[in-house]
Symmetry: C2
Subunit: 441 residues, 2 copies
């Protein structure tokens, strides 16, 4: 018999089906045993005799042949997508026996401390609420691709191994690369920009590597970066327009494709007004000063509490949970930032903030070869550090810009996760590659 997916059973009342999946929970009621069976499509209740059930237990892989029966109205389970039916088992085969679990996986909430959740990653990923996180993440990444392809962007594979660290070397992982030293890329920034010379519009979904010597709830040593870059800008605001378009598209897709997943987390997508408000850093600082009395007007950047405050303001004043903050000091930004000719000392760099934290950064880049060389020199770079980058601009690249969104960060903030590690299948940090270093033999 052909396998039926669990999600299809409500369409097959009165029919024989073959289901294949894992035992999510077992409940014994005397001579009757109820299993919740789980496959990639969902959960369903299977009714067996105690005899049929034997020693079947949680996470066993079982193949069940049986009859799809409509449940009496009183017994319909509205919390289960297949709650209108159940399976009357006729033949049950235990295909693979699982070991006893170290904790209960059958509850709607997996109440584990983060280290336990991650130490048991291969198991905890099976929990429906954990799987939901990665369904949402997949939709975020797919929607990023779809939005940009609809605008003629080409996807490229960004390099992970680089031979110099033009954006600063403190937090970089070093590799022994044959007889040379090389590094893991902190960002595909230079590659995506130089590719504008060849392809005009490019994007990539790539891993970025940051050897940050700290353990916080919002940093990963390896993250998934969603990068876009494009040429022929008429204005730096084209970058905002693209970014807003992409983010709105992602939200729409997540809302449409992940209602059940959002519901599991009681999550709602950020509310947006007609257009995401844009303010300069100095305007943000003035607003914060007026609202809180904290005088941050001479700071170079927003501190975490400032980010929270300006997000609150955007929500109250504009009804938007996202806000663009632009015009950071060019001196505090990398050499490629395009300075605003109308606002000396400040550049066309833009952060997107939402729900109190940074979601992305981007902006317009320098495109004139001699200006790039000058800026790079002031930044202390050798030409050999950025040889391919300079080569591209030497041969003519139009006005360009772009942005980068963090996939895990976006997942975290959409679902309201407490720690970004929950949004990474296999998080890497100072203490862990899969298992904790302290526990390794």
């Amino acid at each position: 018999m052909e396998r039926t997916l669990i999600s299809k059973t409500p369409e097959k009342v009165g029919q024989q089906v073959l289901l294949k999946g894992w035992v999510n929970t077992r409940r014994d009621h005397g001579k009757i045993v109820f299993l919740d069976l789980r496959d990639r499509s969902g959960l369903i209740q299977v009714v067996l005799t105690a005899d049929q059930a034997g020693k079947i237990h949680t996470e066993d892989v079982v193949y069940v042949e049986g009859l799809v029966k409509a449940r009496p109205p009183k017994l319909v389970n509205p919390k289960m997508e297949t709650g209108t039916v159940e399976i009357e088992a006729e033949k049950v085969e235990v295909a693979v026996t699982a070991a006893e679990l170290p904790f209960d996986m059958g509850q709607p909430e997996l109440e584990l401390e983060l280290p336990t959740l991650l130490d048991n990653r291969a198991l905890t990923l099976r929990h429906p609420k954990v799987r939901a996180i990665f369904k949402v993440q997949e939709v975020i990444i797919d929607s990023f691709r779809e939005a940009l392809k609809a605008r003629d962007f080409m996807e490229f594979q960004a390099p992970s191994i680089i031979s110099s660290v033009p954006e600063g070397g403190a937090e970089v992982f070093r590799i022994k690369y044959y007889d040379h030293e090389a590094y893991l890329s902190q960002s595909p920034q230079l590659y995506k920009s130089l590719l504008v010379g060849a392809f005009e519009r490019v994007f990539s979904v790539n891993q970025i590597f940051r050897a940050e010597p700290s353990v916080t709830t919002r940093h990963l040593a390896v993250a998934t970066s969603l990068d876009a870059e494009f040429g022929f800008l008429d204005s730096w605001k084209d970058v905002l327009e693209l970014q807003e378009y992409v983010v709105r598209y992602i939200f729409t897709q997540v809302a449409e494709k992940c209602p059940a997943e959002l519901a599991l987390f009681n999550a709602t997508l950020p509310r947006l007004s007609d257009s995401i408000p844009v303010i300069k850093l100095r305007e943000a600082q003035q607003i914060i000063f007026e609202r809180t009395g904290r005088d941050v007007r001479h700071e170079k950047d927003l501190a975490p509490e400032d980010e929270r405050e300006i997000c609150l303001w955007a929500q109250e004043k504009h009804g938007s949970e996202l806000i663009f903050v632009s015009h950071f000091l060019t001196k505090k930004k990398p050499f490629y930032v395009y300075p605003d000719p109308q606002d000396p000392g400040y550049g066309f760099s833009v952060d997107l903030l939402g729900r109190g934290v940074e979601w992305s950064s981007g902006g317009q880049r320098l495109h004139d070869y001699s200006e790039i060389r000058k800026a790079a020199e002031e930044w202390g770079l050798k030409e050999s550090d950025i040889e391919l980058y300079l080569q591209s601009f030497r041969y003519g690249v139009p006005p360009l810009g772009g942005f980068a969104l963090g996939a895990e960060r976006m997942t975290m903030h959409i679902l309201g996760l407490k720690n970004i590690r929950e949004a990474s299948l296999f998080p890497r940090d100072m203490e862990r590659i899969d298992t904790r270093f302290s526990r390794k033999s």
Copy 2:
């Protein structure tokens, strides 16, 4: 005025347009100058006066306003997609001036030695024939995704940094990971398999890293791997079926979406018969012996000349340019290969060969926890080397299998490229990260 893409100009005869692009070539004919202008969508001929043209030269970024005119029938250029029209320039602005080129980029073929092609990668990527390679590659990767999503596979982000090297350590790149030693992943094999326990069907597009100490035309130190893995196999042949479906889908999409790109390379997609033939390694060796007199019947694997011979045979005998070769010695394959119970010593491992070389490898994997432990022990692994992998199988994983295709290799063999480096935007090898080590200051 709104920018018009070059590919749209044939629809706009008699209209004013604004084009933005790069000067691909300049031809002076006395008072008249012809430019071929290039943007992401194509090429078009622009007619200017010598006065308008001034010092405009190749790779300058120019903005041209002008009239779209139909060419007289005699002057239609059938080799150009916009060959029925040309632009009579009215206003020409040089937005960015390019440096003099080190070689001619205006010919249909870019006749450069490979080192020159790569030393000037930021420039040579602009050549239409080079860009075509990455258009084809993008379609290959997209089609891989589409084919698997249509079958309910979930895309995941495979880790690059790993803490042990269960598949053998000779050719691995080492990283300083905080206070620990770590490695760059040679394959997402163990991760994709363990994820079957949570998601049933997964795939990833990921970079793999191999520190091979040799420089050949078919190996890269970093390649893009297209990995798929799925559970609930009824037979190891389910893996062949999936792989054939994916490869056929990719070919169909490349044929449909890249006719112009294929034409540039005089390339045709591999011819396939109704189904891709499957033979065991020993059958292949017998066939080679009978055809060539070379007795390879006791070899552990196919040598390059054997791969070429068996591909010839498949084409002659079955009319198929692809062939599956199965049943390698389990001893010569990693610990997770599922041994064929009917054929002791040989396993359900399968290579897909095409056009004389290996395209992919895959097979069925062990899923029984105690068998995996036993095999891993015989292979000389410590449990701590594969802790997360074992954890997954300890808690029940159904019969599973999968395969991996190399994106660059597939691009190379579809287009008939001579060196795989041509199929990587930024190839990494012993001698080069972007620029050659010998040339770095």
